[in-house]
């Protein structure tokens, strides 16, 4: 496949990152420590009232986990990004994000004055601050994905965080099907069962990729996705 790397960078632990991932490019996120977590939200950069809709994403594909072949649907029936590669088989769409109260309760208080850039941060504030840079606020925040984490649903509906799910070298790749504002946050998963506050950096690679062909794994993952790609392609005609 004709791919060319545009740039690579490291996203530190407990940090937030954003980028308008252009249609025709892809973002690869690679774990460089065990047990990483990358919270993520996705909006149409050209019209942010259109954004990731996880209920539509899950029900259109009959899934409660994200892996290769699955796509991320907006509320307009279009595909923001596709998961074209994944070493893990399960990324969490259910657990949501941490907030200041949860982080303080689990890990104690740690201010910037004392701890400088190792201070305790939370994903909700990270998302909201980054969104504000694009003129967005809490009204624009819906459900988030947690890459590299797994929350299992038992027969009775019970939710269980599965520890030690990801390892160094695990990676997931997202191909932008629209110009997508991607906001990432590397705070720990809100259901993370480890007792220590931990900084888990990840490696980000942005590259040019080919448009999805007729044999594309995401297009053919479900008949619904074939229609999703058609609707998305029409948006750019």
């Amino acid at each position: 496949m004709n791919q060319s790397i545009l740039w690579e960078e490291t996203l530190h632990g407990s940090s937030t990152w954003s980028h308008v991932l252009k249609r025709g490019t892809a973002l690869r996120i690679e774990a460089i420590e065990d047990n990483s977590n990358v919270g993520a939200i996705f909006l149409n950069a050209d019209n942010p009232s259109e954004r990731l809709n996880l209920p539509d994403t899950l029900k259109a594909q009959h899934i409660a986990r994200l892996t290769t072949g699955a796509v991320l649907y907006s509320d307009m029936g279009r595909i923001l990004c596709s998961i074209t590669d994944d070493t893990l088989g399960w990324h969490d769409p259910l657990g949501g994000c941490s907030d200041a109260r949860l982080v303080e309760k689990k890990y104690g208080k740690s201010t910037y004055q004392e701890a400088k850039n190792n201070w305790h941060q939370n994903a909700l504030d990270g998302f909201l601050i980054e969104m504000a840079k694009y003129g967005l606020n809490s009204r624009d925040l819906m459900m988030n994905v947690n890459f590299f984490s797994k929350v299992e649903v038992a027969e009775d509906g019970g939710l269980q965080f599965i520890p030690n799910h990801s390892s160094v070298g695990d990676a997931v790749e997202l191909r932008a099907e629209m110009n997508t504002l991607v906001i990432l946050n590397t705070c720990q998963h809100p259901m993370d069962s480890t007792a220590e506050y931990a900084l888990k950096p990840v490696k980000l690679t942005i590259k040019k990729v080919e448009a999805p062909g007729a044999d594309d794994v995401c297009r053919n993952f479900r008949p619904e996705n074939g229609r999703g790609f058609t609707i998305t392609e029409r948006y750019f005609l």
């Binding site: 009959h62 409660a64 259910l94 299992e152 027969e155």
Partner: protein
Amino acid sequence: MPETVIQTSTRVPEDAIFAATVEAGDSFVHEILQGQFVRIVDLEGNQAVDTLFYNAHNYADRYSAQDTIREQGNIYLTTGTKLISTERNVLLTIVADTCGRHDTLGGACATESNMVRYALEKRSMHACRQSFLKGALDWSKRTGHELDKRDLTANINFFMNVPVTPTGKLTFEDGVSDAGKYVELQAEMDTLIVISNCPQLNNPCNAYNPTPVRVLIWDAK
């Protein structure tokens, strides 16, 4: 199929301060004040009632599906479930439920998602997000409070059955509800309720036959 717990309510319709029938395909928007009880009755059975809740004094603070299921450690909503907001407030608590469980992962149907899920030609069929928008726009016009598409987030589907399996599959199944079953909530703060009584004709969530529901409100005693 997990065991469901049935909890009835002692409140009787004669004492209600408000009652309205919401036909399938219609929206319903109303304030539920702190302490008040709101009951939704599935009049004919197997009807999906797509519902959103907001802090009545700050619509940016609204029902959050992810926070609600994480805090109770279970994806199904039933008696005892606290509906958590995006700012981590408790909006309402489910105090009675004769159906046994309700969904909050299936979202609301939309003309656009119907094109994806069923066929590109389905675009002109009525859908919940049309009703949500109509309800929100009318409410805004009437009250001057801003409520629009940005405020339509992941909703509750009362009486809808959307099982998730331990292997990560999600399906839509025939309803577990029946004629006369109801769910009742007490408001822990002043809230706004926005309902779309689901018009979906393409899947079993309404048994392919959308029907009316009844909304009743009681004052706190």
